[in-house]
Symmetry: C2
Subunit: 361 residues, 2 copies
Amino acid sequence: MKAVSVMDSGQSQQSTRTVQRRGDPRKPTIRQIAHEAGVSVATVSRVLNGHPDVSELTRETVLKTARQNAYVRNSSAAALASGRTGLIGLAVPFLNAEYFMQMVAGAATALEEHDARFVVSATEHEHAREVSLLHRIMHGATDGAILIEPSESPGELASLRNWGVPFVVIDPAQPTGDDIPTVSAAHWSGARAITQHLIELGHRRIGVVTGRPEWVASVDRLGGYRATMLEAGLAVPPELVVEGNFEMDSGEHGARQLLALECPPTAIFAFNDNMAVGVLSATRSLGLVVPRDLSIAGYDDGLAAIISAPQLTTVKQPLREMGRVSVDILYRLIEKQPVEATRIELSTKLVVRDSTGPPGQ
Amino acid sequence: MKAVSVMDSGQSQQSTRTVQRRGDPRKPTIRQIAHEAGVSVATVSRVLNGHPDVSELTRETVLKTARQNAYVRNSSAAALASGRTGLIGLAVPFLNAEYFMQMVAGAATALEEHDARFVVSATEHEHAREVSLLHRIMHGATDGAILIEPSESPGELASLRNWGVPFVVIDPAQPTGDDIPTVSAAHWSGARAITQHLIELGHRRIGVVTGRPEWVASVDRLGGYRATMLEAGLAVPPELVVEGNFEMDSGEHGARQLLALECPPTAIFAFNDNMAVGVLSATRSLGLVVPRDLSIAGYDDGLAAIISAPQLTTVKQPLREMGRVSVDILYRLIEKQPVEATRIELSTKLVVRDSTGPPGQ
DNA sequence: CTGTTAGCGCCTTCAG
DNA sequence: CTGAAGGCGCTAACAG
């Protein structure tokens, strides 16, 4: 019986059964290209993958006929055969948060250099979603993953690693094992820089509005603040620390609480810019002038910091850079190259603007 | 010759060649599960894919042994065999723009219901990138795609459609053929609402700072503004329309230009919130009070609108909803269900805050 | 309800 | 430098 060839060249083929193609005939396969170019599929594959061991002539022929037939490689097939998908899993807490998107954007540009794309999943910081993500996306569907602020326990991460999918964690909530590369922002020293700045301006009572206590960012920034205060011989009475949740409202709320103290702070350090804006608006509605009556510092150096009036003194984090670096490390892992530093902490930068100044008298 | 079974059950198998498995032995295949559960691969496949025609007993057995062996389906293989990847391509101009991320977030939640993920690509509004995206991501790698504000010509989109990959376009720059579903924001009527609002407040000279002229948003909003002004019998002299680029700075710049006119406007409508904030800061530095001396309106109802002081009168767009709807339509397309409306325009909502008021006298 | 079997399209040794 | 051929792991007829 003759094989039913998709291309209608009269070439006869040995086959015990009728070949019934169900695929879309508009989508040429590597075999058709090979056939038309008069070479073997292996050669076509080599050309398409840029292998060097092909004569210039054949390469050109193949490329030409591939182009003519508008050939596009079927990535599923390639992935199945090669074991590489060209896809990276990316778990991010929230998609609509400027903060995380900076990291994602940084990772995206880096990924492009590796000719890869990423598959995103918003975890909303929910454990269940992350687990499902890890168990679905990572296994087989992607070559590796980047987890931004995962809520996984070290144990879960470790078991994940055992599965064989390389991944790197950005800002882990808890210290991971040494075998799991980690990229973090220097929350502690960033908070230190801000606090120091405030102290140098002459502030003695500095209140803070923290973020959600489950996040590393909150914990570490609080640590940096505390340490710096103590070091300067300044007390940190509990009433000076109020808990926020990174949203603007909580900043406003926290500020009111702080300013209602019998001995209110002369400066407030909010753990992110949004909350700092909240602090600002509370201040304003209380009739206080910033920075004369109250200095306000934020964190992140996001849009809010430059939109607000006065513009905020804050800490700039290398968010994009973190994304970039993570991808770089991830690819070292994937390509099994040695990874020198598995514990990277990128430094932050104090940005002094108009919301801080010496305390009024 | 005996097959080398990965599982060390002593079951002998007929095979003319030694089976040499190169895959990771920790990753069980459907065959091993079938073997261990004492059923055929087909049955396992059915169970795993939730097909109804399996007895409850076998289903349970299979599920149990799958769980025990920590089986995870190889998505590449499944994709190759079934022709469906469970992935959706998503082209978005910028990853770090609140505006687009809202859409993406909306699409993401909707996708989850379809148990799919998406592969993102930032186009940076560069034509080349989009083309590469379309030609790489879409063919075979994804089941469909959502293009946000693509710069493609109708011709390119049409040829894409011919390729057979279903897709929907959000806010197309140019009208597409009827066979390409489209989801848009009602830019025109949003601008109309704002303009009307300003007119009703008593403004007669209303200036605008537009966005980049290549974007639909700019063109349509300008159209809405113009039409409404004319309808109210108000002139729109060219000097009242200054071009911005959606960035804060251009708003500030535009405002200075507008306010320097011999007969300056009493209200300025900036085509997005960021620019409105720019207008605000220009106003402030000129010593004007908003809204007494100048009314300012924005567009988008983003973070900037509520951070700024005074908070901005603006137009809220159903960004998340647009993402959601797009996904819904896309899946209808993918599942070849009839798509009733292929030209969807979601309505916007005027949000009046403190930056607009009656003109001073 | 269940098993058999033929591919899906490509990659990759292994021979020449 | 090139060709032949065996899978990769899974799905989907088709036949019981």
